[in-house]
Amino acid sequence: MRLSSKATTLLILAAVIAIAPVFFPSSYYFRVGSLIFVNGLAVTGLVILIGYAGQISLGHAGFAGIGAYACALAPVHLGLHPALAAVLGAFLSAAIAFLVGRPILRLKGYYLAVASLGFGILVSMVLSNEAQLTGGPDGMAVPELGLRAALKAVGIDLSNTAFWYAFSGLVLVIGAWLALNLHHSPTGRALRALHGSEIAARTVGVDVAHYKLVAFVISAVYASVSGSLLALQNKFITPDVGGFMHSIEMVTMTVLGGAGSVLGAILGAAILTTLPQVLTVFQEYEQLMLGLVMMLVMIFMREGLLPSITRRIRGRGE
């Protein structure tokens, strides 16, 4: 049963990503799709941190910022290929998460929230203040990944938007697969145990501090890769990617869809990424609607959209 739920999730995800383009009337939809996948990846990392381990972070955009600026800076200053730059960014994020995570994760609840928030703000402040390096609030250009040209050379000719749709979709499926594997691994069980009760987990021999740190580092890598993908896709990056509002968006997507489920969280990412696109018609009301959606879902569907809906459907079936 457990194994099949993992397979079902991956199958649904892959099928939706593969079939959706059939209904796309224009390349704009590919663009929105790939944005959803990029956000979905960051959110999948937060499922590990929030959903599995029960820890909160209001500063994960900081890691997205590191990943994004690694892709912008490393090719220029270190002469790295953009793909290697993304890997470097992921390593850097993991290292920083490791260093910051140990003291931060001793804190709980609101204290953890403010500490992670402070970390995120420090990162975004560096990104916007070190203008000679990062271009400051105006942002900076990011070099071309070059993978599309390579594909073209072997006879696969994709439009720019279609390429990024397929590529980020692929990365998302891989990310979801890894996260689902983790769920059923000994590490995943340890994380869920400490989510339930830290004291109980410690009593049965789980190294609570170690596993919290593992979840924090893994989720930081997800956020970093998501930031890199965004930077490479847009070929331009501003400090907003590391800003407080982006952190909040990421957490909101996760919890809105259902922090306990990878598919749910990705659904949350899909909704919150599409919402502003739909609402551009009512631009004046965008913030009003966003705030309203956040409050209503959290009040009436506490576990998030997907778990609440599936429970309702199952309840009716029984």
């Binding site: 403010v114 402070g118 407080f244 004046e284 966003l290 705030g291």
Partner: protein, 290 residues
């Protein structure tokens, strides 16, 4: 030395505002265990409503009074419509609800008012007062005096009135308070209206110095939250100390190190304090019950 004094004075002014915001956080946290991220929007509403009421021809004191009362109403609505229905929800959900509320209020303010930056005249002129080589705006004195007055009144309220003691009892143990006949729903409503009113008052006092617009709330909420944490969540004395400390720290960083990184100093200190003293400067050590 006049330089140091100057930074100190401006730090205390800003710190007094942070302290008021932190106090708002503290009151709501004590009553409901919720950290209200919409706290900064109360400050914004206080400033903006006063601006527009004053522009509509009302005298300033009346406009300010209306702003404080209207914002208190918003606080009560927030409690009744968003916080009470979500009682018992996990911390993450509550954070998202109050951030949602903050985005909602900001969106509404942008529609009802506008996106411009506003101010209204200072209460007693803009002629700086010289103190030992440094200068201070008369409005800064209003801010500092206002903050002190609020803290003093609150101290009287909590220690000398039955209602105040009921609020403290609810903060201490909600069920026990209910058992001795305290109407805890009323205490919640009261706490949200007080917290909103204090936020609005901070907005009224500080707008002539810092100006206001529909989006000033978020930054203030973050700083106020940080100040409350610095002092120790749930402790009014901690809110005052944390706010002043944060303000002075920012002013010193801006003056002596880098004005770009003045916000960084605040968060670095908070991280350091939380690492060394996870309960904040004045927080009580708590032990989890298994």
């Amino acid at each position: 030395m006049p330089e140091l004094l100057q930074f100190l004075l401006s730090g205390i002014t800003v710190g007094a505002v942070y302290a008021l915001v932190a106090l708002g956080f503290t009151i709501i946290y004590n009553a409901s265990d919720v950290v209200n991220f919409a706290q900064g929007e109360f400050v914004m509403l206080g400033g903006m409503i006063t601006v527009f009421a004053h522009a509509a021809g009302m005298p300033l004191p009346l406009a300010a009074l209306i702003a404080v009362i209207a914002t208190a109403g918003v606080g009560v609505a927030l409690n009744k419509l968003a916080i009470e229905p979500a009682r018992g929800a996990p911390v993450v959900s509550l954070i998202i609800i109050t951030i949602g509320a903050s985005i909602f209020i900001r969106g509404a303010a942008q529609l009802v008012f506008d996106k411009q930056i506003h101010r209204f005249p200072a209460f007693s002129g803009d002629q700086p007062i010289a103190i030992g080589g440094a200068t201070i705006l008369p409005q800064s004195l209003w801010v500092i005096a206002g903050a002190l007055a609020v803290f003093f009144c609150l101290w009287l309220f909590f220690t000398r009135t039955l209602t105040g003691r009921a609020v403290l009892a609810t903060a201490n143990n909600r069920v026990a308070a209910q058992l001795v006949g305290i109407n805890t729903n009323y205490v919640m409503t009261l706490s949200f209206s007080m917290s909103a009113a204090i936020g609005a008052l901070a907005g009224v006092l500080v707008t002539p110095i810092t100006l206001t617009s529909y989006d000033v709330g978020l930054a203030l909420a973050l700083k106020g939250f940080a100040a409350a944490m610095l002092g120790g969540m749930g402790n009014p004395k901690g809110a005052l100390a944390g706010g002043l400390l944060l303000g002075i720290l920012e002013a010193m960083t801006a003056g002596y190190i880098s004005s770009q990184y003045k916000d960084a100093a605040a968060f670095i200190v908070i991280l350091a304090v939380l690492f060394a003293m996870p309960q904040g400067l004045f927080g009580r050590k708590s032990t989890d019950r298994v």
